[in-house]
Symmetry: C2
Subunit: 114 residues, 2 copies
């Protein structure tokens, strides 16, 4: 099951780290406790809509942009789950599936003769 709060947490943490800010700095701006924000970033707690708006404001990121990123991350995970299910029931998975989707690192891919 793809959980919204887990991928939301990933996106929020990525944004904060991209901005070179500590959890402590963000929490002061968003007026949320360090422990709570840490749990949100790890996808362990749901953020209320008011808190989410406040975190977005502190990150100087429109909510629409954050949701769009979460939507993309969810779509990728849905595709991964679809692939895994297809493999489990023995469906042929096309070999040109990108490594990012199939979970391959690329290290185990045998180069094709070009």
């Amino acid at each position: 099951m793809v959980l919204f709060r887990r991928l939301l947490g990933d996106v929020l943490r990525s944004r904060r780290i991209e901005q070179g800010r500590t959890l402590r700095q963000l929490c002061a701006d968003a007026r949320v406790s360090l422990g709570y924000m840490s749990e949100i970033e790890r996808g362990q707690k749901e953020a209320s809509s008011e808190l989410l708006a406040s975190i977005c404001a502190a990150l100087d990121a429109p909510l629409s942009e954050i949701l769009s990123e979460v939507s993309d991350a969810v779509a990728l995970e849905e595709a991964r789950i679809g692939l895994r299910l297809a493999e489990e029931i023995g469906l042929e998975v096309p070999s040109e599936v990108p490594g990012e989707l199939s979970g391959h690192t690329g290290d185990d891919v045998v180069p094709s003769a070009a």
Copy 2:
């Protein structure tokens, strides 16, 4: 403040109505109480990530698709708020702003001399 749960509720209700289903039918499939689901659709209660996944499954809609629609609705509301703020501080708002964005119905628009 743009609240995620309000626009999520709008999107979930639109989907259900498009499918010609009653609240009662959806609640049975998503295993959620009628009162709670009704509050979620009206944006009065937050849905947990587990419940959101369950509602999406009952609507036969990928979570990524629902989130993408919510993101679009949030973006539209952010733009509306931006326009309103610009008007309040006396900034000239371009007349070619689409009616949907500015909240005009078009009835009150004076045609410009082309």
